[in-house]
Amino acid sequence: MKIILKYAAALLAMAFALAPIYWLITISLKTEIDQFASPPLWFHFTPTLRHYEGIFAHDAFGHYFLNSLIVSICSTLIALALGLPAAYGLARFRWPRDWANGISFWILSNRMLPPIVTIIPMFLMLRELRLLNSLAGLILVDVGLNLPFVVWMMRGFVEDLPREIEEAAMLDGESRLGVLLRIVLPLVRPGLAATAVFCLIVAWNEFLFALILSQTESAMTLPVGIAAHVTQYEIQWGAMSAAGVVAILPVLIFASAAQRYFVRGLSLGAIK
């Protein structure tokens, strides 16, 4: 009885979470008439791939997709490359008084600000740097967005490593940088993978900055491109849903590829 209740609760939660996705997928497969049928057609409709053909025929979609891929992968790699050494320094070096915590908190506090507050200064800065409407500009912004998270996550993982292992490596003749690259990096890999997936998802889904900072088609990312289906005269539900479904796929791939690390990484103690 208890088990049945448990499964019932789990199913309910799952239905709640997956209903919008189901709705998205079905709309992407329905003709315009079926989309607006009342009462809604949950299961009985004739599926069509018209909308998918439509978005792939439309050149810009592939372009947005590629932009999104470039921005999220590059920004994630840069955020990890900058964040891991920072986290290592905060976790391991001797700081005067409580500076390590102070600096960490300051880094985190950058995430406490609602992003919209920073959008105008960000716009002005990127304009000065001539990085508006460029992928480089978006990459830079996403790095800034993800860096605090990387530093915090990785600081925790580094602190969980036994210090003795690093000291042993130094006595074996390894430099600090060598310790970071050849000892710490392989040992925090599960944590790094979990962090990377999170960064990829944040950058992939990022809408606000991409909307304001890239107004030309050449630099637009997928979320902005999808939103462009809301036009002055109509909302192209079918095309928008089809694009939405395609946009979900990379996130699913990132997450399932790193799932093994994800659970281990988020459940503390990377190598205990």
Partner: protein, 349 residues
């Protein structure tokens, strides 16, 4: 003189970890740093390794000042309490790591690894990962990694303390033999006095960051420099009985000894448990006492007597029977007595 530690001091916050410690060692010597936890022995080892910087003092190795040198450039190897093996490498990679860092050709590395592994009985484990090994095997891998590059000094921080007691005794003997073969100066930290006595050519006893005595195990045991050393080394510990000298006789409640050394009035008498004679029947000139407890160890019996609020522990032959609370007699062998000044705690010789 191979390794010299000269007047080292170190503070952590408001606590003195080491105060003016000076130690010199001879080539190939096995020096044990012994003391209770928090006495500064590990800190001293870490300063020699370069993992801590001293506030004051100099460390030299074969005449070279290494005080401010990076750990990687000191040419010392260290074995840690937790072994500190690299979990993401195989046993062979762990052992060969110091050579790999030095960019030796891989053919040379693998032949060296095989040689060392064979010597330490690890030959069949080279492809395993550290987590598949037992405690004793991990310990051996850590040792192999330390000796493969033939450092100028070995530092060992309680390397045996995570092993079970039988294995510890085996490894202790193995370690001593290995150190003898390699003839490299070794500094070994432990709080276990049996390890210290069995391994060391000289023992340095530390307390509260101050060096108490630096001498051979024999000297430490038979001529302790002060009350702390006397009480710390030896199991069961030396009996220490404070008393006063009046007109040439040392007195304390229930006990008096003639002809104490000249000098102070407040003395502490020290006597090892094996230097106290025991009898169940009255003997002329012996001191009466109550049996407080007896502990039969098989090869000997430890008897603890109670005299006027103090205890005297003594070793009696195996099979000695004595009822708790029964009356017994003991005699302190006068030629084996250690005298200490109760105020300064220093030995009087």
């Amino acid at each position: 003189m191979s390794l010299l530690v000269d007047n080292i001091s170190k503070r952590f916050g408001s606590k003195d970890a080491l105060r003016g410690v000076t130690l010199e060692t001879r080539d190939g010597e096995f020096v044990v740093l012994l003391g209770p936890s928090g006495c500064g022995k590990s800190t001293l080892l870490r300063i020699i390794a370069g993992l801590e910087e001293p506030d004051q003092g100099v460390v030299t190795l074969h005449g070279r000042d290494i005080t401010r040198l990076d750990p990687s450039r000191r040419d010392v190897a260290m074995v840690f309490q937790g072994y500190a093996l690299y979990p993401h490498m195989t046993v062979a990679q762990n052992i060969g790591y110091p050579l790999r860092v030095r960019r030796r050709p891989s053919s040379e590395i693998s032949s060296e690894v095989e040689k060392i592994a064979g010597r330490l009985g690890l030959g069949h484990l080279l492809r395993n990962e550290p987590k598949q090994l037992s405690g004793g095997e991990r310990q051996r891998v850590a040792l192999a990694r330390a000796i493969i590059r033939r450092p100028r000094a070995f530092l060992m921080d309680e390397p045996l303390s995570n092993l079970d007691s039988r294995l510890r005794i085996d490894m202790r003997a193995e370690l001593k033999h290995l150190q003898h073969e390699l003839a490299v100066v070794t500094l070994y930290v432990t709080h276990d006095q049996v390890e210290a006595m069995t391994l060391a050519s000289r023992i340095a006893i530390l307390k509260d960051g101050i060096l108490q005595q630096y001498a051979s195990p024999n000297e430490i045991y038979h001529r302790p420099a002060n009350l702390f050393v006397a009480g710390f080394v030896g199991s069961p510990a030396m009996n220490l009985l404070p008393g006063t000298v009046e007109s040439g006789v040392f007195r304390r409640a229930g006990l008096s000894i003639e002809s104490p050394p000249p000098g102070g009035r407040d003395l502490t008498l020290g006597i090892r448990p094996e230097d106290v004679d025991f009898s169940l029947t009255e003997q002329p000139g012996w001191t009466p006492a109550r049996v407080w407890v007896t502990e039969d160890l098989g090869n000997e019996t430890l008897i603890r007597l109670s005299i006027e609020g103090a205890f005297v522990t003594l070793r009696a032959p195996a099979g000695t029977r004595a009822e708790i609370d029964s009356l017994a007699w003991f005699r302190i062998r006068p030629d084996r007595v250690h005298w200490f000044d109760s105020q300064t705690t220093e030995a009087i010789r």
